[in-house]
């Protein structure tokens, strides 16, 4: 891990604040809910940075903010030295393939009206479509028979593999994993985690993992940030954190891991 520290960071988030308007019927006054309240972190190429916290603590909002799906109140998001918050929509769109998300709800992650082959038709060049689709599918452990299927004909694990293949189809550098295995069955869970580990090696990927599931954190994470109420309580390499937690809140988490 020390070697990666000397490289240029791939993603740098500084003092990020995100808030959501909370609307109610017909009212004029808009209320705001603070989701992320001054968060900073840096991710280096090849590592897996993990944000751990209870649901509702604002971890998913960080992913939405990096992807430009929510308005950032203050703060900067630097991807390979470029500030995403200052890009024009057009330039941001061109940069998007570099950062790909994988979400928790695999049931909703695929367009129900699109066959699997059509998903890849959207991003892959035409002359390479067939060969690259086969290659992508086999790299996530799917057979090519499923390309004529609609999403609802696939199992949960298969869907999540398709989601991964779709993300990989645009050659990303950074994967944002938002609870990627939480809704899967235990056996499938292990398979997908193993897949993620091997993909990270073969494709030279960087991960930003967000989870409250401690088994995956244990298996994947290099550095861990503990998040509560929109703020980081502490961030440490996983081993340091396990050995020497600073906050009581963190200690509770670690107790849960060791009990597993």
């Amino acid at each position: 891990m020390n070697s990666s520290r000397q490289k240029q960071p791939i993603l740098e988030v500084n003092n990020l604040h995100v808030e959501y308007p909370v609307n109610f019927r017909g009212g004029f006054r808009r209320q705001k809910k603070q989701a992320v309240n001054g968060v900073s972190f840096t991710i280096f190429p090849g590592e897996c940075f993990t944000i751990v916290g209870e649901s509702g603590c604002g971890k998913s909002s960080i992913i939405d903010a990096i992807l430009g799906f929510v308005k950032i109140k203050t703060g900067t998001v630097l991807f390979e030295k470029q500030d995403l918050t200052k890009l024009t929509p057009k330039n941001f769109r061109k940069l998007r393939p570099k950062i790909q998300p994988v979400f928790q709800d695999y049931n909703q992650a695929l367009n129900p009206h699109q066959r699997i082959e059509d998903i890849f038709r959207e991003t892959l060049p035409k002359h390479l479509l067939e060969s690259q689709t086969d290659q992508l599918l086999s790299s996530v452990g799917l057979s090519k028979e499923i390309i004529r299927c609609f999403p609802h004909q696939l199992s949960g694990g298969q869907k999540q593999r398709v989601v991964l293949a779709r993300a990989l189809s645009v050659n990303p550098a950074l994967l944002l994993l938002d609870e990627p295995v939480t809704s899967l069955d235990m056996s499938v869970f292990v398979q997908i985690v193993e897949l993620l580990i091997s993909l990270r090696k073969t494709r030279n990927l960087t991960f930003l993992l967000v989870s409250h599931n401690l088994s995956i954190v244990h298996l994947l994470a290099d550095r861990v940030a503990i998040m509560k109420n929109g703020q980081f309580l502490e961030q440490q390499p996983l081993t340091t954190l396990l050995r020497n937690p600073k906050h009581d809140y963190t200690k509770n988490f670690i107790n849960q891991i060791t009990q597993l």
Binding site: D64, F69, P97, P101, D105, A109, P112, E122, T123, S169
Partner: protein
């Protein structure tokens, strides 16, 4: 939302609705074979004749064949209803998509306009415009469409709003696809279900409004006919001249029920809970 027919379940209201509409359609299509008489040819000596072998459905004041007028008037009613529904659905879908995807103050203004237009009693306004203008069929179609698109726009907007934050839309946005592609390829097909259901129900509503207008003498004008105007001919003595008032009324009723049944059937088939 599931649009793909996953289980072919017997859907009673769908079946009976399709049969009803099919029968009325066949009547309108093959009607001229039943009666050789032109729907406008008058014969004042045979005024208000009850049904007989030469006029199966009797005659009206001017001695015109009622069966021929029912067929002709029905075609007009159907054409007006389907044409204005078609336009209303297009207008509503485009405005709804636009409003939802633009968001911000554009969305606010468009939705306020929808609220305002929904607050007008539909028959009231359509009656005004059609009554003041020289009532022509094309004006009628336009006006009916212009005051019917709001509900479609609302449904499309709320569906797009809920789809917009779905994971799959976030995912394809992250892939770097262009906005028009996301809207038309990914969002539109997924909001079509509720739109289809409400358009079928809209046909019913428009038939009721059109026949009310024609009944008041403000819709389809003589010598043309619609089911509403035929009914108006029988208003002096509704049961005495039952061949003028009963068949036309039953045809309106049957058509409206038919489309409502199909709408409800589709609603069940598509497993939609949101719209009414």
């Amino acid at each position: 939302m599931k649009i793909l027919p996953q289980k072919t379940q017997t859907n009673q209201s769908m079946t009976s609705g399709c049969i009803t509409i099919g029968l009325v359609f066949i009547f309108l299509l093959l009607g001229p074979l039943l009666t050789p008489i032109n729907h406008t040819s008058q014969n004042l000596s045979a005024s208000l004749q009850p049904p007989s072998s030469s006029h199966w459905m009797g005659t009206d004041y001017y001695g015109r064949d009622v069966l021929a007028r029912l067929v002709f008037g029905g075609r007009i009613t159907w054409i007006i209803a389907i044409a204005s529904t078609f336009m209303a659905v297009n207008i509503g879908t485009i405005i709804g998509l636009f409003s939802a995807y633009q968001g911000g103050w554009i969305d606010l203004i468009v939705m306020r306009l929808v609220d305002v237009m929904l607050a007008f009693p539909k028959l009231f306004v359509v009656l005004l415009i059609v009554g003041l203008g020289a009532s022509s069929t094309s004006l009628l179609i336009w006006v009916l469409a212009l005051f019917s698109w709001m509900e479609i726009a609302r449904i499309v907007r709320s569906e797009v709003m809920s789809q917009k934050n779905r994971t799959y839309i976030k995912s394809v946005r992250a892939l770097g696809l262009r906005t028009p592609r996301i809207v038309f390829i990914h969002i539109l097909p997924n909001v079509l279900g509720p739109v289809i259901v409400s358009s079928v129900l809209l046909i019913s509503t428009i038939i009721l409004v059109e026949s009310s207008l024609s009944f008041l003498g403000l819709g389809v004008q003589a010598p043309s006919a619609s089911w509403g105007s035929i009914l108006n001919d029988g208003r002096i003595d509704p049961l005495g001249t039952w061949w003028l008032s009963v068949p036309a009324g039953l045809l309106i009723l049957t058509t409206v029920i038919g489309f409502n049944l199909i709408g409800n059937g589709l609603h069940k088939q598509l497993d939609l809970k949101k719209i009414v």
